[in-house]
Structures are given as structure tokens and as C-alpha cells.
Amino acid sequence: MKIKKNGLLQDLYKNRVMWLMITPIIIFFFIFSYVPMVGIYYAFTHFNFRGGLFGSPFAGLDNFKFLFKGGSSAVIWTLTRNTALYNVAFILIGNVLQILTAIILCELPGRLYKKGVQSVMFLPYFISFVIVGVFVYNMFSFEYGLVNNLLKGLGKSPVNFYANTGVWKYIIVGAQIWKSLGYGTVIYLAAVIGIDRSIYEAADIDGANVFQKIRKITLPLLKPTFVLLLLFSLGSILKGQFDLFYQIIGKNGSLYGATDIIDTYVYRALTVNFDVGLGTAAGLYQSFFGMVLVIGVNFIIRKVNDDYALF
């Protein structure tokens, strides 16, 4: 039998060493990413552990009906709204502060001090989310928290944050900003430093002051980077920050209404309620619409600037 010229089989032979070198990666993603896609079928079953993948009773769309039951107050809308709105807050506030920090760090004199501050800002990126949970507890605990201590010091009565759903929105956003400020600043700083310095020198000769230079040179030149990062992050708006929410809120059920995201819901379906079918259904909803969003965003990026498109 003649092997097709330039076909896959021929390449497998010709570049067999290279194929062998990349085989572990191909197998890894096949087993741990592609095989689980078969498990999407769980979303359409009433799963029991003994029956497994194909032995569990078929449920049709029951799991999805449950998620969507109740119109605008359905489980899935609360989860989607929380997941998306938190991400929008993270993205918008985070990016604005990161750009501001990067520009200021770039323009300010005093190398050593700037280096020190930048190191301190980057530090939270290296800390596990378990520690983030400790921080939040330290700050907001009713009996021992620093915030209540300060309130008492000012002669005000302490607030029981753990029984008050309203403030957790801000605490969670604050914690995420804290964790990612240095990380994002690094990325924007690279973009700011990459701007051609001769433009600034020309502006200096024309007598522009530092505010004018930032407004007329830095910000317009950062816009492409900003728009791109923004679009990419909007593409993953349905992917929740599981570690953050779980370590801060944990099993505090009274706060779920304002703080439950798709990822924590799926985690509880697995570890607390053992409802595999329902959890898989919620995960599938997230994964599917997440993909649609990324493809949509990529489509827009390709319209704007083909070079930056992901695929």
C-alpha cells in the first residue's frame, strides 16, 4: 500500500522523534481534557455512582429545567448574574487601577522607592488563596477584626460583617484587586515602557507638561493594549474565580444570594449535595456559553485588528 505523500502517516514517520517528544502533551490533554467531555452526558442523567456513565437513568432535560425553573429568579440567572457582574467589576476597576499605577510608576522619579513599592504590590500574587481568606477574616471578623477595632477606637459600634450580605460585594472585589494589582501593573508597565521615548522628548521641546503628555501620548498609545486585554477578559466573563469566592465566603450559606457563582455552585453539587447531574448541567451551561463568548469576542477583534485575533 502506498502511503499518501505529505500525509499525516508519512509525517508521523518522518518526524517520529518530534512526534515522540510531543506525545506526552497530546496524551495528557486527551485524557484530562478531552475524555471528560464525554462526561457531559451526566448532565442528562439522574446520576448514581454505581451506574456510572451509561448505567444511570436518563433524565432528558430535567436538570436544565431545574436550573431554569422560576423565570427571572431561577437559580441559573442568579449564578450567571453574580459571576458576570463580579467579573465586570474585577475587570473594570482592576484595569483602571493597574493602568494608573503603571503610568505613575513609569513617570515618577526615585528608582529605589518605585522598585520597592512595585515589589510589595506584586507580592499578593504569590500568596495562596487560603491566606487571602485569613486576611479577610483578620480584617472583618466581628470579635477580633482590625476594621472593627478601628471603629471601636473611633467610638463607633462594631459591625457584624459576617451577618451582613451587602458589604461582601465590596470585600470580594477589594480582595481580588489586592491580589491582582501587581500582576496587571507588570503587564501595563511593559506596554508603557515600550512607548518610544522620542515622542516624549518632542513633546518636552513643545513645552507639554507631564499631565498633557500622559493624556495626549501615553493614554492614546495604551488604548490598543487596553482594548485587547479588556476584550479577552470579557471573553472569560463566565469563568468564576473559584478560589477567591470559596476561601472568602466558604460555607457561609447566608451570604450565597450575593456571592454564589457558577463555580462554587458546581463545587457544592459535587462535594455537599452529591448531585452530579445538576452540577454537570450547570458546568456545561458555563462552558458552552463561555465558548460562544470567546468566539464572539474573537470575531470582533478580528474585525478591529486581524493581527491580534486568537484564531
Partner: protein
Amino acid sequence: MKIKNAKSTKVFNLMGFIYITIMGLFCLIPFIVIVSGSLTSQDYIVKHGYSILPKEFSVEAYKAIFIFPKQIITAYGVTIGVTIIGTAIGLILISMGGYVLQRKDFKYRNSVSFYIYFTTLFGGGLIPWYILMTKYLHLKDTYQVLVIPGLMSPFLIILMKSFMKSIPEEIVESAKVDGAGDFKIYSSLIMPLAKPALATIGLFLALAYWNDWFTSSIFISSANKFSLQYVLYNILQTSEFFRSSSSANVATSYNLPTESLKLATAVVATGPVILFYPFVQKYFIQGLTIGAVKG
């Protein structure tokens, strides 16, 4: 004109200085509160709560950790072992793959890249993955499960590929002319040149292993296999349980300094990261910059 510029620069510098100082403090204060809390006596915390600087200095909490050190030391051992083994295996696999994916004569490089990238777009989700790992691969409560999921990620493979692209192609070409095989080129030519890439990606891997609590929480049931961060998480949950079950009485009659013990454990679990941080920071900055621009 000059005076006006000097003035606005001064205003900017003052405002900028205040801004970055506030942001720096915002990032730093939680760390200080933890360290000083861990050095404060339990009595003081129960009476007055946490403060920024330690008021009643005490190392009781650290002593308590080392009175019952078995749990912490075992977890330290598990985490160090998992971090070293996982990072080593991961680096070998990722560097081989990254090398192949940037070779222009590897015809299917784009298809394989997309095969890897697609897993970030769509997946079965947590639960099908969990059932595969436990019911079909029987990885529940094993050391392997702590290592395997963190071995590689699409981001790190693409990052490695971008790094390797910056190595001049002529090196590969001339080695080929000399008759070196693909693996030989990788192992004795590319590897020594890719040291900065290996450092950066190795550190990303190691940090993820060190900070992992999730894998232990869903797969591990025997306490001697818990990772460090999960032990820390458990200690936090237990002392929270004592606190919420019957208020401060239990906590004080109970001999352990629970509040400061929590913080001391946090310090002990995070210590190595903070210690290494000044030396490794630049590698992460390098990785993030390249990853964001090209990835």
C-alpha cells in the same frame, strides 16, 4: 514656560508619590497584620482583637506549632516532594513540547497548538473530570493525584513556545547539517540556551504546586497526604469552629492559642514563598510580559 512645567511636574510627583504609597500600604498591611498577630499573645487578641503592630509580644503560637509539629512537618514534606517532582516532570514535558511546536519544519504544529488551546475554550467541567479521576483512573487518595493535574497548562506550553522562538534558528540548522538528531538538538543545544525560560516556567509550576489546596480538598482523605495549604485551611476551619461553637470561653480554656496559632501557621506555610520572592520576582515579570504580548 519652564517654571510652569516644573510646577506641574512637582504636583504630579507629589500626587503620584501619595498614590503609590497608599497602594503599597494597601498591599502590605494584611501581611503585617498577620505577622504581628502571630506574635501577639492569645489573651490580648481575645480581649482587644488584631492590631497592626504587636502589642503584647509572644512567641507562644510558634511554640505550639513545634509542640505538635507532626502534622505541619508531614504536610511540608508532602508539599516539597510534590513541588519538586511535579516541577521537574512538568518542565521536561513542557520544554520538549514547546521546542517541537516552534520548529518550522514540524508540519502539524498549528493543529497541535489548536488541540492544546481548544481545552481552554471548552471542557467537560469539574464534575466529569472528578469522576474520571476517581472512578475510572482510581487516583483518589494517592500521591500521584497531587502531581498530575498541575503538570502542564496551555498557558505554560504557549509561553515556552514563545521563549523558544527567540533562540536563533541557525543553531538548529547548523546542528542538523552536522547530523544531530532532533532529540540531541533539544537536549544538548536548546536546553542550555533556554535556561531563563526553564527558570520562569519552572517557577510558575512550583508556585502553583506550593499554593495548591484544592486538589487535596477534593481527592485526599488520609491526613498524612494533605498538602501544606490544605492543612492550613483545616486549621483555620477548626479554630473558626471553636470560635463559633461556644464563643471565647472554649478558646481560652482550650490550651492552644488558637487565634495566633492560625496566623503563625499561615506565616510558616507562606514563609518559603516570601523568602524566595526577592530572587525570583524578575523571572515572573519576564514570563508575564512575554505571555501577555505574544500569548
